[in-house]
């Protein structure tokens, strides 16, 4: 593989907003439970306004797929099911989008027009995603230069995919229609680390509004990556900021390798020539290969194409652990719905013998300098798959094709679909345009939220927080909560309050406690219980855990639970000593430690440790005085 070349990266951030859905009044909440109803639909593409059917749309419609949608009777309505026209645009969502635009110095449009972006992979019941341009222009500063912003759009979130197969896909409708801000930068980012920094900065501005959703999946990044001479790739679905630099780097390497491959192909064969698909089943009829035998017993056949003069090219590694053959395989899977391909650079292999390879070569008219590709499938699927593979091979002699790719957990990417053209946008005639003037006036009257950098500075200055805690409060959207709680807690230092809201929560999260489930109300209540002395500091962790597990009801118990008086503690300790007389007589004062642990367990953090240990020491001494040592 090659060195990491210079990249150009554009970033697209998708952030869900914390308000009801964009074109109906359903809640923007995700569900885990089984949907109440299922509907099955198909999608067809029609002619566009401008007369051409978009290639990406055509590509999906070629696959005559059935989509199944799960609906909830209490959380989705006829709009998600495409059984009713959309309601007018959610103005609260538009106001948030405008607020972000203004914070980033973007230029809002005067009148927002909702468009239909044709998406017929089934992720929208309508076959299009409603999206509207809200603002353009603006920029963000990073430590390695300014990144210009391109567009801010307000759009509908897609349906949640449960499963997919060539013949169809199954979705849940709880997610469909949640308002989403799509914030795109120009391709001004020139390094993997700058890409990450830009994403972090933009994410903080979004969160500074206090009106965006948080938690896994509520923000995701798409990357547009290209290198000199390469081509724009849209990489979808990056959920971890930390993965961005690696993905950018590996994509740059992939493109550079593909360019190198192109040059070698040109030197070797001039242009790529691929034969027509041929049924080569007979060459492998007696094969011992499990893969082959399974395919044949399923009634599948083996089809192959010859690639003239390119033996050795298919095994070229284009990303760590990913070969050019894997790219071709992606095309075969996506277009033909087949399991993948077998290519000559990995043979003998898969249990296919040397002799069988020879027979295959003969059947395909391929000599040692030629490569070949096999697909195991029924004829129609195989020929679609091989046609897609052939087209991709021909492109390899021309350069890097523009693609939509999916981010993989290891930082590599795989082919998803061809990059859609801009022609797939039509006006959404069911939604009226909205003037932004009155909304902007309202936002400016209220004042824009504080910018993230200013917040971090202020938290350090006014409350004496560490920068780390200040950033954590910001990134977790708890600045407002912190300030409210800190102001109300006369007896606690702001530093301590910040620690509960940040490091304490993170520690619990690491232990596997579902801290996302603890609401702001509960957090503020717990701090106030500590502040008023009802809950000792030692009890905070248990209290948080209980609320995470049982919900706010757990707080009721805490509130009712007054701190035990000294004499109550003394009674508990005495009983403990009596119950453990044997231990006490055997270990003397060294019984303190196990008894202390037990006492704290019984009191479950309701009493400060210092008080309990004082009483225990006293009582232990008293008991030992009265007990002859044996």
């Amino acid at each position: 593989m090659v060195d990491v070349p210079r990249v150009r990266v554009g970033l697209e951030i998708h952030q869900r907003l914390a308000t009801h859905k964009l074109f109906c009044n359903c809640p923007s909440e995700l569900r885990e439970d089984e949907p109440d109803y299922w509907a099955r639909r198909r999608l067809r593409v029609s002619y566009s306004e401008l007369g051409s059917i978009d290639p990406a749309a055509r590509f999906e419609s070629l696959r005559n797929r059935t989509f199944t949608y799960g609906a909830y009777s209490d959380a989705t309505c006829e709009v998600e099911l495409d059984e009713s026209p959309p309601l007018p645009m959610n103005l609260e969502a538009l106001e948030i989008a405008l607020e972000v635009s203004l914070m980033l110095g973007m230029d809002p449009v005067d009148e927002v027009h909702t468009m239909r972006k044709i998406v017929i992979d089934g992720s929208n019941t309508t076959g299009f995603q409603r999206t509207a341009l809200v603002a353009m222009g603006g920029e963000v500063k990073t430590s390695s230069g300014t990144v210009r912003l391109k567009t801010l759009c307000l759009e509908e979130e897609s349906a949640y995919i449960i499963s997919t197969a060539p013949e169809g896909a199954t979705y849940r409708l709880d997610r469909l229609g949640i308002p989403l801000i799509e914030l795109a930068t120009e391709a001004d980012i020139t390094s993997p680390s700058q890409a990450r920094e830009t994403a972090l900065t933009l994410g903080r501005v979004l969160r500074a509004t206090g009106k965006v959703q948080r938690g896994i999946g509520t923000i995701r990044q798409d990357l547009n990556v290209s290198i000199e001479g390469g081509a724009r790739q849209e990489i979808k679905g990056v959920q971890e900021l930390a993965l961005i630099p690696k993905i950018v780097e590996r994509e740059a390497v992939r493109q550079a390798t593909l360019l190198e491959l192109r040059d070698r192909i040109r030197e070797t064969v001039g242009e790529v020539r691929v034969s027509e698909p041929r049924d080569v089943t007979s060459a492998l009829l007696g094969s011992k290969s499990r893969l082959i035998r399974r395919a044949l017993s399923n009634g599948e056949r083996i089809f192959g194409v010859r690639v003239d003069g390119l033996a050795g090219f298919l095994g070229v590694e284009i990303q760590p652990g990913r070969r050019f053959g894997t790219e071709l395989s992606g095309y075969a899977k996506v277009f033909g719905g087949v399991g993948g391909i077998i290519h000559s650079d990995e043979l003998p292999g898969y249990g296919i013998s040397e002799d069988e390879v020879r027979a295959l070569r003969e059947a395909l008219g391929a000599d040692r300098s030629d490569a070949f590709i096999l697909v195991l499938a029924e004829e129609a699927a195989a020929s679609t798959a091989l046609e897609a593979v052939s087209e991709r091979l021909i492109q390899a002699g021309l350069g890097v094709p523009e693609e939509t790719r999916r981010a993989l957990p290891d930082g590599n990417t795989e082919f998803m679909r061809p990059l859609p053209g801009p022609a797939r946008m039509y006006p959404e005639t069911d939604v009226f345009p909205v003037k932004t003037g009155p909304l902007i006036e309202r936002i400016l009257r209220k004042g824009l939220p504080e910018m993230p950098d200013a917040t971090i500075d202020r938290l350090q200055r006014e409350y004496g927080l560490t920068r780390e805690h200040a950033e954590m409060l910001l990134d977790e959207g708890r600045v407002g909560l912190f300030e409210r709680v800190a102001a109300a807690s006369g007896n606690l230092s702001p530093r301590y309050v910040a620690a509960i809201l940040t490091s304490e929560m993170r520690a619990l999260k690491r232990e596997g406690v579902d801290v996302e489930g603890i609401g702001e109300e509960s957090l503020s209540e717990i701090v106030s219980l500590v502040d008023s002395g009802i809950l000792p500091k030692e009890g905070v962790r248990d209290a948080l855990t209980e609320v995470a597990e049982r919900g706010p009801a757990a707080l009721e118990d805490l509130r009712r639970r007054k701190p035990p008086s000294e004499s109550e503690i003394r009674d508990i300790v005495r009983k403990l000593i009596r119950d453990n007389a044997e231990l006490v007589s055997r270990r003397g004062e060294r019984a303190f430690s196990p008894l202390m642990g037990e006492a704290m367990r019984i009191l479950r953090g309701r009493a400060p440790g210092s008080l309990v240990s004082g009483i225990l020491k006293e009582e232990l001494r008293r008991a030992l005085r009265g007990t002859p040592r044996g």
């Binding site: 198909r42 067809r44 593409v45 009713s84 005067d110 009148e111 468009m115 341009l133």
Partner: protein, 448 residues
């Protein structure tokens, strides 16, 4: 190419010599914007100019902020669609004629005006719904382009004549593409106007226009063509979605169908009987109701006589006798009242009903319950209505009773002759019995 703008926006654009679809450059403050000038629907204000940017998005630019407009490139012709050439129909397939009347199914949103434009050629439909071409040798005629809310009794006659003419010249069945709003009125009218019907006549519509990927027209039209080509029923039917899914369509008797939802795919329900047939997305036809069988021969006729001046009114708690008098003095020749419950009206207007009947204006009583039968013998109000001369509609839908009364009056029936016509079953509109599986529960576990 014209300019669809008015008022202030028009003045600005005209001065720059701009027309719809031209590529413009506009200055707003210190910024330059360029994009294709998009038409602006009439209903919107004249304060904004809409352009389509390079990235495909439309945006509105406030006229007040525009300091200069320049045409960079003329747009030329309106957006063109190029439907691919249709493949020749396979030989030996039954002939099905599609007659387009307008409405969502036979039209698409004209983005240039925001209005609806009729489909011009069969190619546009066949490319989208190749299933039709596979099932039958399909021909396509646009006989009118009318929103279904504007369709009149004169149009019903024209549609009936066109359908009869197709059936008499070899079509195995006729499919009438129709707007959904009044489709059940047209279906009822065709049921009475077409005489000696030997083959299927099917009305079909769409709740989602065919310019949307999720259009219901695909299942509806392919099912309609199937039913027209192969269905055994010589009936006038409405074929539309049977559920919210694209799984199957219902064929509903034209005189028993009603649009029961403003926007759902399965808006049409059969009333007081199950659907005639269920047509699966794969094209299988299952007969589920009583039918008159398709016959090989015989000429289909049209009896075009119809009297459009029939009023359909609701009974409601504060209805007054004056209202009824106003109806008769407006020149209506007959009145259908959608009464409450079993077919009741407030007792205070019964005398006016009697006056109408006595003055030669027949009054037919149906029920706004829609489901179930009118019965004027159970309560005294009903008996008083009968005594006043009102004609009970049986289990006819109010709309069907209205169309039937137009036909009866058109044929010159009056008095007892009209009563006899209205209370006899002509085209399946009055059920002998109402089976228990004919009422749709709105709440079905596991179904929407």
């Amino acid at each position: 190419m014209g300019l669809s703008y008015r008022g202030r926006a028009r003045a600005l654009l005209e001065e720059a010599g701009a027309e719809d679809y031209d590529l413009l450059e506009m200055r707003t403050g210190s910024r330059k914007l360029s994009g294709i000038l998009m038409p602006r629907p009439e209903i919107l204000d004249d304060e904004h100019v809409v352009i389509k940017l390079d990235n495909g998005y439309n945006m509105g630019v406030a006229v007040a902020k525009i300091s200069g407009v320049r045409v960079l490139r003329k747009g030329g012709a309106a957006p063109e669609r190029r439907p691919p050439a249709p493949s020749a129909p396979r030989g030996g397939l039954p002939k099905v004629s599609i007659l387009a009347t307008g409405g969502t199914i036979a039209s698409r949103v004209e983005y240039s005006t925001g209005a609806v434009r009729p489909t011009e050629s069969p190619e546009e439909l066949l490319d989208l719904i190749p299933e039709m071409g596979e099932a039958a040798d399909v021909s396509y005629k646009s006989i009118m382009a009318v929103f279904s809310e504007d369709i009149s009794p004169e149009d019903w006659v024209e549609i009936a004549r066109a359908a009869a003419s197709e059936l008499n010249s070899g079509a195995s069945g006729v499919v009438v593409a129709h707007g959904t709003d009044t489709m059940h009125y047209t279906a009822a009218a065709l049921s009475f106007l077409l005489q000696n019907l030997t083959k299927p006549v099917i009305l079909v519509g769409a709740q989602r226009s065919i310019d949307r990927p999720s259009t219901d027209a695909v299942l509806n039209l392919s099912s309609a063509v199937r039913m027209a080509a192969y269905g055994p029923a010589a009936e006038v039917m409405i074929v539309m979605h049977g559920s919210t899914s694209d799984d199957f369509a219902f064929a509903i008797r034209g005189v028993k169908a009603r649009k029961m939802h403003t926007s759902r795919r399965d808006a049409f329900l059969p009333v007081n009987e199950p659907p005639i047939a269920v047509i699966s997305s794969g094209g299988d036809i299952e007969i589920t109701g009583r039918i008159r069988r398709r016959r090989g021969s015989g000429k289909v006729d049209v009896d075009p006589r119809i009297e459009p001046r029939v009023a359909l009114i609701y009974a409601w708690p504060s209805i007054t006798g004056d209202y009824l008098r106003a109806v008769s003095s407006s020149g209506y020749e007959g009145v259908v009242i959608a009464g409450t419950g079993l077919g009741h009206v407030p007792n205070r207007i019964i005398s006016e009903i009697g006056e109408l009947v006595d003055s030669g204006i027949p009054v037919v009583i149906s029920s706004q319950c829609l489901f179930g039968r009118v019965n004027l013998r159970v309560y005294s109000t009903g008996r008083r209505l009968l005594a006043a001369g009102a004609i009970p509609a049986g289990d006819m839908l109010p709309e069907v009773a209205t169309v039937k009364l137009m036909v009866g009056l058109g044929r010159g029936y009056r008095g007892d002759e009209l009563r006899e016509f209205m209370t006899s079953n002509i085209a399946g509109e009055i059920s002998e019995s109402i089976p228990p599986n004919s009422f749709p529960p709105c709440y079905r576990p596991g179904a929407i």
